[in-house]
């Protein structure tokens, strides 16, 4: 055993180590401070702060951790630490910070306060799974990380047992999740049988140098895509999304729609890039192996995903359900960026995701504040809310406008870079379909605004008063959405810097 190797590997996975240590600390603190749970959120915050510093350092400090130098030919390891993974880890960390505040405010979580220790421990389990997912370069590590993420989120989806819909959400999440991870594992076993290894780089070398049965490989690739598609909720693996998003506590819904989707996208991009791409050409387009046509599959799936998401969102009356379908549609847009299979498309995905984080979490936060007060998530109950609580109304309007993708919000910039990437790659037809989808999306987002500002309520609308910390928090969420809409240079530069994936 080479100890020097081990130490350098361990120093590369510092954020993961921090998260694991704090997971254990939270469990212990939960046992020690049996009566007083107020300490636990702060412990979680401390862990997140340390991990975020370590993640930021990873943008420059890159390398391969845990190489198998004795068995395999290359020295590329199980975990690849690079700027691309660091970008997604940063997104996960930021949404975790927001989630801690979310849970602090949420009534649903407050009512089950005696289980707060388990709640944060499971969230840290999720974070650990997502961190490994965004930097894993070995199929088995991918499977283990995916299960760690899934198992924690099944429980969290049914965390507050106040309403029957929580348990229903967790059962549906469990059945769909376990099935797709079973499919994925079978695909991994076929990959292993074909190439004799589970390391993505080894698979790449093998596929490039050997003749293999294309049918078998396509079957295995589609099975693996089933597992990934479930995480990013793409058609046809999206059936769980509306039910789970509606049934789960709002804080968890918001987290699932951003963080676990980010991990899924990181996994998808790394899987394609590491296992199937041989080199970048001068314009940044990826030379992909001809063994499996990822381009057509991704285009087909993304068009289906966004069209179905947008069309079904049109007749939703529950706002959480509507946001669930809208998040399916957004996954479709981002899949298009991956389908371009170029560095430019990838930059567009990164930018889009960074903005999507703020606008989606912001919208969910306001929905939660309103649900805390009125106990309802039906869009009909939002009638006249824009006048009784103008601050919330205006803030929700801005988030919705950003989700549609209208200027001057950040959502517009995200969509703009995506469409530029599509047009540059000569995918005009696809760009037009995506544009038409944006127009459909306009209808259901505006419908919420119509209810808030134009429809007179038959019963008296309750006033939702907002306490000062919440106002500051909402402004904190609104600021990036508005500022990056006009001053987006830094984000674009950062995304361009983070697009380099190690391993070619």
């Amino acid at each position: 055993m080479n100890y020097e190797n081990l130490y350098s590997s361990l120093s590369l996975i510092q954020p993961e180590i921090t998260i694991s240590v704090f997971l254990l600390l939270i469990v212990v603190a939960d046992l020690i401070f049996d009566k007083n749970k107020a300490l636990i959120p702060f412990l979680a915050l401390a862990g997140l702060i340390i991990a975020s510093v370590q993640v930021i350092l990873q943008v420059t400090n890159t390398g391969y951790a845990f190489p198998f130098s004795d068995v395999y030919l290359s020295r590329k390891g199980m975990v690849t630490v690079d700027a691309f993974g660091a970008f997604f880890k940063l997104i996960i960390i930021i949404s975790s910070f927001i989630l801690v505040y979310f849970s602090y405010v949420s009534d649903e979580i407050k009512k089950s306060e005696k289980n707060l220790g388990e709640y944060y421990a499971l969230i840290f389990g999720m974070i650990l799974g997502m961190f490994f997912l965004s930097s894993a370069s070995d199929l088995i590590l991918i499977y283990v990380a995916l299960e760690l993420l899934s198992l924690s989120s099944y429980v969290l989806a049914g965390f507050s047992k106040l309403r029957t819909r929580n348990s229903e959400a967790s059962l549906k999440y469990l059945i769909y999740g376990a099935t797709s991870s079973g499919l994925m594992l079978f695909g991994i076993s076929i990959f292993y049988g074909l190439s004799g290894t589970t390391n993505l780089y080894e698979i790449n070398t093998f596929l490039a140098s050997h003749q293999i049965n294309h049918l078998t490989l396509s079957f295995a690739s589609i099975l693996i895509f089933a597992g990934i598609g479930y995480k990013i909720s793409s058609v046809p693996f999206h059936f769980w999304t509306p039910d789970v998003y509606e049934g789960a506590p709002i804080s968890i819904t918001a987290y699932l729609s951003v963080a676990s989707k980010a991990a899924g996208f990181a996994l998808l991009v790394r899987f394609i890039k590491s296992a199937f791409v041989t080199s970048d050409d001068s314009l940044g387009y990826w030379e992909i192996l001809s063994v499996f046509d990822w381009h057509s599959l991704l285009i087909l799936v993304s068009i289906l995903t966004m069209t179905l998401g947008n069309l079904t969102a049109l007749w939703q009356n529950n706002i959480k359900r509507m946001l669930a379908y809208s998040s399916i549609a957004h996954a479709g847009y981002m899949l298009l960026g991956v389908a371009v299979l170029s560095n430019q498309g990838l930059v567009a995905v990164l930018i889009y995701f960074f903005f999507y984080l703020f606008m989606n979490l912001g919208a969910f936060f306001i929905v939660m504040l309103i649900a805390n007060k009125t106990g309802s998530e039906e869009i009909d109950d939002y009638n006249g809310l824009g006048y009784t609580s103008p601050f919330l109304g205006v803030a929700l309007t801005l988030f919705m406008v950003a989700l549609i993708g209208l200027p001057p919000t950040a959502g517009f910039i995200g969509k703009l870079y995506l469409f530029i990437a599509l047009v540059d790659a000569q995918m005009i037809t696809v760009a037009i379909i995506a544009l038409l989808n944006t127009v459909i999306a306009l209808y259901y987002y505006i419908r919420v605004l119509k209810h808030m500002f134009l429809t007179k309520s038959t019963v008296e609308t309750q006033t939702v008063s907002v306490i000062r910390p919440n106002i500051i928090f909402i402004i904190f969420m609104l600021a990036p959405v508005l500022i990056f809409g006009v001053y987006f240079g830094p984000v674009v530069d950062f995304a361009k810097r983070c697009v380099q994936i190690l391993g070619l």
Binding site: Y143, R165, E168, L174, A178, G182, S189, G193, G247
Partner: protein, 102 residues
Amino acid sequence: MQVELTHFLVVSTLLFSMGVFAIVTRKNAILVLMGIELMLNAANINFVAFSKFGGFGLSGQVIALFVIILAAAEAAIALAIVLNIYKTFSNVNVDEINNLKE
């Protein structure tokens, strides 16, 4: 008769198909979970058979161990969730638990 790789693959594919069939057709949540276990075990047979007949060393068998552990963890969580469902709905039929539909 010599037992070849093909025999193992036929068994694992049959097992996998039976697992998928069980998930799609069964109504009882426990039986659905059994279907999922069948899928995982089909993949396990593949791993072990490939590592034995392909000469890939022991890695396939180690992977199978990982999968067994994860399957146990998943079963534990799944049964807890099903128990919770039984307490709220007093049955565990997947098609009757559909309050969350528009």
